[in-house]
Amino acid sequence: MQERCYHCGAECDEKIILDNKFFCCDGCKLVFQLLDENGMCQYYDLTNMPGMSAKGKYASEKFNYLDSEAIQDQLIQFKSGDQAHVVFYLPQIHCVSCVWLLENLSKINPGIIHSQTQFEKKEIKIIYKPSAISLKELVQLLAFVGYEPMIHLGGNDWMKRKKVNRKQLLKIGIAGFCFSNIMMLSFPDYLSANIEELGTLRPFFIYLNLLLSLPVLLYSAKDFFISAYTGLRQKWLNIDAPIALAILVTFGRSVFEIVTQTGAGYLDSMSGIVFFMLIGRWFQDKSYDSFSFDRDYTSFFPLGVTAMEAGKEINKPLSKIEKGEILLIRTDEMIPADSIVLTDGALVDYSFVTGENAPIEVPKGATIFAGGIQKGRAIQLEVVKSVGQSYITELWNSPILKTEKNTEKSFVHPWSQYFTIVLFGIAISSGLYWWMVDSNKILPAVTSVLIVACPCSLLLTVTFTYGNVLRHLGKSKMYCKNASVLEAMEKIDTIVFDKTGTLTNHEDTHLEYIGAALSVEECIAIKSVTRESLHPLSQLITQYFNSVSTLKAVDTIQNFVGKGTQAYIGSTEILIGSSSFLKMMGVEMNSEIVGSSVFLAVNGIFKGVFKVNHIYRQGVGEMVQHLKLKGYQLYLLSGDHAAEILNLNNLLGSDVTMLFEQSPNDKLNYIQELQNQGHKVMMVGDGLNDAGALQKSDVGVAVTDQTHLFTPASDAILEGSMIPQLHNLIDYAKKGKLIIILIFILSLIYNLVGMYFATRAQLSPMVAAILMPVSSISIVSLSALLSFLLFSSLRSRS
């Protein structure tokens, strides 16, 4: 049995043992030692194998740019004398141990005064002494223990969100306080058989109620008035307008009754309604804090780079990089701008940009595009286009994307308009009736109608139902930006898929060997060679020979960066690399294989090819068939070559339109063309190459296999494993409207009952006070019940 690393849980190939514990690599062992020295082994007690693999990840020069003052100013939130506050986003946070370790960082370095994490947001706030530990050392420490912060150009947008959230809570708190106290003070009025008994206490209760209702009217309900007012100024009657009117009428009538000493008013109903509606809004708006749906390219690019000036390395903020500058790009760093390669050894992983994950060799003198990640050794580049004008970043400046998205107003508003019209009709006709019968009752009847039939039940239904649907989708690992995404999803008739990373799995690659059979000896030799290299393709080959357990020592090994490897084991020569490399080494061969592949020759004789195939996610075919049955038009836009067309035809069926070799701009334009034909388009994709299309589409769904990875701006984020369930998820999202209609019918019944009393001018404050919470609570619970039932029926289907 293979031992697992005590720190990160990876399988241990080599046996590194310390204190009777196994470690997969020196990196993990070092982290353990550091924690052990500081008496912090509780980290390992809280969760089993909590660590992040430290294998080959740590390069200290990577953070040199943090020495630059300009960059520090962008990151540090607050600085005074001997204290600085900084907040980092740490996507690796995943368990109790993480929180414990991060909050005890001060034990490792006394320069850290205090650190506090926010688990759901995956953030850490650190207060430290700049005199004792520099920002760079701080980040290096975080990276060393396995939590490398994501530091990017477009960083801190989270401050704004927080403020909005707090205000909403304050409003709910005040409304709740006033509502419950008014309710309590109204009880004597409802319950005493003879009001006269109360004597002088009654005015005291009533005026106290009036006082308590003022904060609700003036502060808690403020948003309704503001929204109604802005709507009316744009000559548009939104749902807040009749609600604001109802609040005002209720308050006005109550004040009138109190002043003329004819009654106690409806202040309890008014504050109750405001309280419930505020809770509904808060429930619907609770967002997924650890996701960001509005990332543009700045979130993907590093904050600073190393520039070469007069032979010296200088750290510069990315925004200051201009045309003609020389940049130094180290292993695993991103190319920030379109450039020309000046040195050998450029091996670029464009998976971010194109979705193709095999690294591409870029010769000296050729152009290299922004967004690629250098996999080879450190190289130098000359910038030819500034960051904002590079090929990939230009997408965001495309005029097509400037148009606003989802400007269509929710169906709730027209409904509330009809509702309001009918309401006024009833109010006027009951007013007319009483004008003929008993003119004293005109005012009570008309105001009662407006009080009882405010469309707040519609608003409650909508906010709670969408809130529930969003939560259930979140449980199925589909995270929507907000409720309007659900409404947009309902109108979708066309779905466009990306191939790589969406229908296929990024991580799950399958290696296929084509060529002459290999002897056991040869297999051992090949594995012994490939395990020496960190190149992703070599690692794949090592995995391919998983069953080979014996290994031999490699006598000599020579790596030709970006080309291949030549190694000797005894007298056996192994050549592994690109076809051009093998030809260069004098191997004769003719092979026409497209896609990412590695060529193999033993003792100068061509043996065969390791071909990398992407595996399609299981269940993709069925999902596509379901979508077709539901009548969706399906398209596939791939940045890849058409080599896979036969497989795809089998998998998806020939009636799915497929286009290959699509540039990011092509995808964007194609979506627009579909929209111009009147289609409502959902784009399902990943990576920066789909970013434009995701943003342009009516519903952009970003697919990711690790939710902590960055996804481009989108309306929803879907975990890759849930792709086969896509049809069910869309189905469920659409059910929201059905639930709303059902509940709305129920609330109409309540309204009719209330209306019966109101039009007879018999609405006592008590009837209103009973009707209001009963209808609100039954709406809320019915919405929760229906959305849960529909969700569990969806689960049982999958």
Binding site: Q42, V96, V99, T200, L201
Partner: protein, 57 residues
Amino acid sequence: MSVIVLLIAVSVLVAGGFLIAFLWSVKSGQMDDDYTPSIRMLFDDEVKDTNHRQNKK
């Protein structure tokens, strides 16, 4: 009956105290994170252990 006036005044004051406590807690950011504190409270204090170490040194 006037004692009721007094009682109600006291009850509103007490409730108001809780309201102020709530407003203060929201404003000071205690409601910003509703998950991590539930983890944090489970950590054991290591005070004894560290003292022990320091004594040895």
